[in-house]
């Protein structure tokens, strides 16, 4: 057991979809997708839909709860290049505060919902989201907005 090799962590409301499964997985050089999400860990259909991409890309995929991710990710082998995907800033913060060694946190799709205001083209946040992201940054994580790999990274402090 050493430190897990987390090549990228992304916040995306859709978790694994076309953009994440194909574009980000290859640009990050990942060979294992770890979906850390409490609902998906218990949802067979969602798992099937997300596993479809992973199977054709030849990468592994796991569906773990946040708690299991915190307790178990350190068992990863050094050859596993992990792309960690969470749905929202709350879950990202739980992982960081649980001691998961996240270095880079990519803010991807955060869709509009009631009470959220637009921060960038594809990200909408409320005060709690901002507080959770700041908490991650304060813990030493490099937090930035980047929709697709070709986009420039926008550091958190520039957008909120």
């Amino acid at each position: 057991m050493g430190e897990p090799n987390i090549v990228l962590t992304r916040i995306d409301n859709r978790l694994v979809h076309g953009q994440v499964g194909v574009v980000w997985t290859s640009s990050a050089g990942a060979n294992l997708l770890l979906v850390a999400n409490d609902e998906t860990a218990n949802d067979q259909l969602q798992q099937e839909l997300m596993a479809a991409t992973a199977e054709t890309s030849g990468v592994g995929i796991r569906f773990w709860t946040i708690d299991k991710t915190v307790s178990t990710i350190s068992k990863a082998s050094a050859r596993q290049k992990i792309f960690l995907i969470v749905r929202n800033p709350q879950d990202a913060r739980r992982l960081v505060e649980g001691g998961v060694p996240i270095k880079d946190l990519n803010i991807g799709n955060m869709h509009f919902s009631q009470g959220k205001t637009q921060v960038t083209k594809y990200t909408y946040m409320d005060d709690q989201d901002k507080a959770d992201l700041k908490a991650c940054a304060d813990a030493g994580v490099n937090v930035y907005v980047q929709e697709v790999p070709e986009d420039k990274k926008q550091p958190l402090e520039e957008v909120i």
Binding site: R14, G21, V22, M50, H111
Partner: protein, 141 residues
């Protein structure tokens, strides 16, 4: 029976423009874009509108695991209609099968298999080779 073409950006309306140029309108084929200003819910609502007047459909999606694919599979699970979902098929299959769709009798899965088979047959590397005519001593010309 309907074919619903859907994908990221203007995949669907892009294919629609190709279909229009080559074959004109295909009355039983719908084209639904998933653009940056939409979300999973608004895409699914568009799917439901197109499915309202049919009990059989094949979703023709751009990318395995993408949002159009995922929303199509979810609806195929929910609606209790005869719906199949395919990904990665090409314009050749859409033209060939879309043109024959008017009086289609079999189920959605059969149509889906036909689209995949036709797409594979049309996915090729072109290699030059000499055209050999039958020799004179064979029967016929």
């Amino acid at each position: 029976m309907k074919i619903i073409v859907t994908g990221h950006g203007n995949f669907a309306t892009g294919l629609q423009s190709t279909v229009k140029l080559l074959a004109g309108e295909l009355p039983n084929v719908a084209f639904i874009d998933f653009t940056g200003d939409m979300n999973d819910g608004s895409l699914s609502d568009r799917f439901k509108q197109v499915l309202a007047d049919t009990d059989q459909a094949v979703f023709f999606c751009d990318l395995l695991g993408g949002t159009p694919f995922k929303e199509a599979v979810k609806l195929s699970n929910q609606l209790g209609k005869d719906i199949a979902v395919i990904t990665g098929c090409n314009i050749g299959s859409l033209l060939e099968i879309g043109l024959q769709l008017g009086d289609y009798k079999a189920n959605a899965t059969t149509l889906a298999e036909q689209l995949v088979t036709t797409s594979k047959a049309q996915t090729k590397v072109f290699h030059h080779h000499a055209i050999v005519e039958p020799s004179d001593d064979e029967d016929g010309i």
